[in-house]
């Protein structure tokens, strides 16, 4: 989590926001994906480890296993 915060700082540097900030002509009750805009990218090794070259797209699955494990043990 601290890492994501760090990246937020780095990719907002120089006022570069990695996506469109206003969306026009969108219909109600329809899903919309904001258009990406490349700002900074990871170094090759970091990108390979994370599975994306874009800091703004790096969002690992955070396991909540610990929460579920404790009731299991009581069974």
């Amino acid at each position: 989590m601290a890492d994501n915060v760090k990246h937020n700082v780095s990719y907002h540097m120089g006022n570069c926001i990695p996506q469109e900030t206003t969306i026009k002509d969108v219909r109600l009750a329809r899903a919309y994906v904001p258009f990406q805009k490349m700002c900074s990218i990871f170094s090759p090794i970091e990108a390979l480890k994370r599975g994306t070259i874009f800091p703004e797209l790096y969002s690992p699955y955070e396991s909540k296993e610990k929460k579920y494990k404790s009731p299991d043990k009581n069974r």
Partner: protein
């Protein structure tokens, strides 16, 4: 540094650079007018080509269609799916 270690390091570099090429390629498919992304793509594609050439000069073909020195190097062990043939990326991403 042992030859095996050098070989794995070079392979890891190629894998990492090739991943940059793949992801920038995908981005460019939807952003064909992004000059910065295109420049980065071209730079990484060139780097990939050069790294592959130096790897193949030392250790033999990395993909079909590359030349081989004598004897035929394609069948040299370890095979690509074997543990010894793969770099272990440290997983301390947090």
């Amino acid at each position: 540094m042992s030859d095996d270690k050098k070989k794995l390091e070079l392979l890891e570099q190629i894998m990492a650079i090739d991943f940059m090429v793949v992801d920038l390629n995908l981005y460019l498919n939807t952003h064909p007018m992004d000059k910065d992304a295109l420049a980065k793509y071209n730079s990484f594609a060139m780097q990939s080509k050069m790294l592959r050439e130096s790897y193949e000069r030392l250790y033999g073909p990395i993909s079909q269609g590359s030349t081989s020195s004598y004897p035929w190097q394609w069948i040299k062990e370890p095979w690509p799916w074997e543990y010894e043939a793969n770099p272990t990326l440290s997983r301390e991403v947090k």
